[in-house]
């Protein structure tokens, strides 16, 4: 991703962090919540960003979805079941492959994820979140390919990718046990901020992600990082589960609406 | 009105057609050598020509040849062999299956040799060929959409010299040279070699040549003599063979 020739730099990269450090003495006084206990974008700590969901956005894919959570913008397309490219040994089940990429301009400094390690990790986590929901036993030997592109990284990227990918799988008519909704949360200076924005993630002391099959009430993927006081962790997981259930409603509404317009035309 | 054929001569109706004015000239792809509306009823075309509407168009560079009454082809030298029915070829076994062998004859695609296409072969009794073995065979069919097929017997089912080539040395020459080696009367280089040495030789139209002789030295000599002869006149070839023979006969 790097251009040939002389190295270049962005004078604005890392500016927020520097301002933050100059602002106060230490992490404790970080101003994530205003006096009215609202966040920078006006949300309450437990409030999710408004989600815009749309399916059927890529014309030549089997299924696709676009998700926009404020400035986090993700496009996912699903191809398959189709012939598996990897000449793997015969298996009774199909393969689910997940590939997440970040556009070069998606992050504050260009091509920050160009090295691919972050993309590989996101791909891996997406696979873990989805694989238990997809009924891979219904089409032997084939592969279902899920491709996601983060157009703008505005925080909680993985949660949005998982949510959009599950919508795209449903749009492709792939058999699933349930939808998968995912919500993440940042721990910032002792506050629990649901569905964090990128600026909140940069200031976080820890974060949690929960991916849930809402109707079956099963967690397909969960991880937590950072040091969490006892009660906080349980509360954070609760908040995420709550977020997943809310999201589930919006996802189902989006699919219903799409089905209605498709039949109408 | 137009009939495609490989090498064979068949019956042809003749008319009072006018032969192409390009006969004997060097032609290049795209050249229109004959107006078919002006030609007779039946025109036979060989390699390097194609019908395009009412014209006969060249697809390969070379010299335009014509035999009476109305057969045309382009004679050029190309290294890559394109199989034609009744060509004799030398090939190498690359895959083995119960019903057939896959043979590399150096063409655009590999050829098939049915396991029973040998003289007197039965399910129980058929020659055992392994991957890497050489075989001398005849092309029995070519079609755009299937692999060419081979056989190790002539049209009446007799071996006629075809079959596995044990031991020996296999080398590649141009298809032009292979044609010279197969031509009648016997070409100068083979005649000269045959006069002084005894060896076995199988030449394929595909440019693969197999030689076997009592000693490795003679095998190598024959192979070198053949390769060297490509751009020599008959007289030059005879002199070249003579000097080579001297070298081996000296000690």
């Amino acid at each position: 991703m790097s251009a040939r020739g002389a190295p270049s730099y962005s004078p604005y990269s890392g500016i927020e962090e520097r301002v933050m450090q100059e602002d106060g003495a230490g992490p404790a006084s970080r101003s994530v919540l205003g006096a009215d206990s609202r966040r920078q974008d006006g949300r309450l700590p437990e409030e999710c960003r408004p989600a815009f969901l749309q399916v059927g956005t890529v014309s030549r894919a089997a299924g696709s979805a676009y998700a926009e959570f404020a400035s986090t913008k993700v496009l996912v397309a699903v191809y398959g079941p189709r012939e598996s490219r990897k000449a793997a040994a015969y298996s009774d089940t199909s393969r689910l492959t997940c590939d997440v990429k970040l556009a070069a301009f998606a992050t504050k400094s260009r091509g920050k994820y160009g090295q691919g390690t972050a993309e590989r990790e996101l791909s891996d986590l997406l696979h873990k979140a989805l694989v238990s929901a997809v009924r891979l036993d219904t089409f032997p030997k084939a592969s279902v390919d899920v491709f996601a592109l983060v157009l703008e990284s505005g925080g909680a990227d993985l949660a949005v990718v998982v949510t959009a990918a599950s919508l795209a799988l449903a749009d492709a008519g792939i058999e699933m046990l349930d939808m998968v909704a995912a919500t993440s949360l940042s721990l910032v200076g002792g506050h629990l901020l649901v569905d964090p924005a990128a600026s909140e993630e940069r200031a976080q002391d820890g974060n949690v992600l929960v991916a849930l099959m809402p109707a079956r009430n099963e967690v397909t993927q969960m991880h937590l990082a950072g040091a969490w006081p006892d009660t906080h962790a349980a509360q954070a997981i609760e908040l995420c589960l709550d977020g997943c259930h809310k999201l589930d409603g919006e996802m189902r509404a989006c699919l219903r609406e799409h089905a209605a317009t498709a039949n109408g035309s | 009105m137009l009939q495609s054929s490989g090498q064979g001569d068949g019956p042809s109706t003749s008319g009072s057609e006018q032969a192409s004015s390009y006969v004997g000239q060097i032609v290049a792809p795209g050249d229109i050598v004959l107006d078919l509306t002006q030609a007779g009823k039946l025109v036979r075309i060989g390699g390097g020509l194609q019908q395009d509407g009412t014209s006969l168009v060249v697809t390969k560079a070379g010299r335009l040849r014509h035999t009476k009454p109305s057969k045309y082809w382009v004679e050029g030298s190309q290294r890559r062999y394109v199989p034609a029915v009744e060509d004799v070829v030398v090939g190498v076994v690359v895959e083995r299956y119960a019903e057939h062998l896959v043979i590399d004859i150096g063409g655009p695609v590999t050829a098939l040799l049915p396991a029973l296409a040998f003289e007197g072969a039965t399910r129980r009794n058929k020659p055992n060929l392994n991957i890497g073995d050489s075989v001398y065979a005849r092309v029995t069919s070519t079609s755009r959409d299937t692999e060419p097929t081979l056989a190790c017997h002539d049209a009446s089912g007799r071996a006629a010299g075809f079959g596995p080539l044990a031991k020996g040395y296999l080398f590649q020459c141009s298809t032009g040279l292979a044609r010279t080696l197969l031509s009648r009367p016997t070409c100068a280089v083979l005649e000269a070699l045959g006069g002084g040495l005894s060896f076995e030789l199988a030449v394929g139209m595909n440019g693969k040549v197999w030689v076997d002789a009592a000693s490795a030295a003679i095998t190598v000599l024959v192979a070198n003599a053949i390769i060297n002869s490509e751009f020599l006149s008959p007289t030059q070839a005879k002199i070249m063979v003579k000097s080579l023979l001297k070298q081996v006969q000296q000690p």
């Binding site: - | 192409s20 004015s21 390009y22 060097i26 032609v27 290049a28 792809p29 795209g30 050249d31 229109i32 050598v33 004959l34 107006d35 390097g48 194609q50 009412t54 014209s55 006969l56 168009v57 060249v58 697809t59 390969k60 560079a61 070379g62 010299r63 050029g76 030298s77 190309q78 290294r79 890559r80 394109v82 590399d104 063409g107 655009p108 695609v109 590999t110 755009r144 959409d145 032009g176 010279t180 002869s229 490509e230 751009f231 020599l232 006149s233 008959p234 030059q236 070839a237």
Partner: protein, 247 residues
């Protein structure tokens, strides 16, 4: 109006091609090869095939044509990759690929030296190499590059079109046009009036008026005949040499 005495740096007139040299059959391992030079620009092309293709890449309808473009030194950049694709699609216009279903034909292009008009030189070289390999084709191609010199060079009128530009002329030009044209074959029949050699490939660089492009096209058409005549002459010579022992 006149371009009297306004010769180019290398002494050519504006409408003059550089000296061409074409050697065929240089590569013994290849099924066909040709080295084509236009003075300082020189390209060597080897053709392999029709040959077996791995089943994954074969096409059941026709031979797959692949082009590998090797720059003079170093590794392929985006420009070379683009040239590779343009060259491949250009050759597809004349190669009779449907005659060899499932097979492959590789064209390997080695740039020896680039002194301008490189793509044209490569197209001419590839075409000669395909002929040398005996690959069936519907006809021959001729490629010409032409440069539109900047007007402030003082050359008036139509004199600012420089045929077969050197690298220096090319870099200093307001625009360049590279065309690959069908050639008029020898014909036993006259197919009525021909509109002029049709354009198989066109790439341009820089801005120009439509009329300038059309004029460039006419000039290239004229030049393509010279190239075609030369290609046939060189083919004749090569063919005679091959036939020497027989005659």
């Amino acid at each position: 109006m006149s371009s009297q005495g306004s010769l180019r740096k290398d002494g050519r007139t504006f409408n003059q091609l550089r000296g061409m040299v074409c050697d065929r059959g240089l590569l013994h391992r290849a099924d066909g090869s040709a080295k084509w030079s236009q003075d300082g620009t020189s390209v060597l092309v080897g053709v392999y095939g029709p040959k077996n293709m791995p089943p994954k890449r074969e096409d059941p309808e026709k031979a797959v044509l692949e082009v590998l473009w090797k720059p003079k030194s170093g590794i392929q950049g985006p420009e070379e990759r683009e040239a590779e694709i343009i060259l491949r699609r250009t050759l597809e216009a004349v190669v009779l690929a449907p005659l060899f279903p499932r097979a492959g034909i590789s064209v390997v292009v080695q740039v020896i030296h680039d002194d301008g008009s490189l793509l044209s030189c490569a197209i001419n070289a590839a075409c000669a190499a395909l002929v040398d390999a005996g690959i069936p084709m519907t006809g021959l191609l001729a490629s010409v590059t032409i440069a539109l010199a900047k007007r402030d060079d003082g050359a008036g009128g139509g004199a600012h079109l420089q045929l077969d530009p050197t690298r220096e002329e090319q870099d200093g030009a307001q625009a360049t046009v590279c065309l690959a044209l069908e050639t008029t074959p020898k014909a036993a029949t006259s197919n009525g009036s021909v509109e002029g050699e049709a354009v198989v490939t066109s790439t341009t660089r820089g801005a120009m008026a439509i009329e300038e492009y059309l004029e460039a096209l006419d000039r290239c058409r004229m030049a393509s005949r010279t190239i075609n005549a030369f290609a046939r002459l060189s083919l004749d010579k090569a063919q005679r040499r091959l036939e020497l022992p027989g005659t």
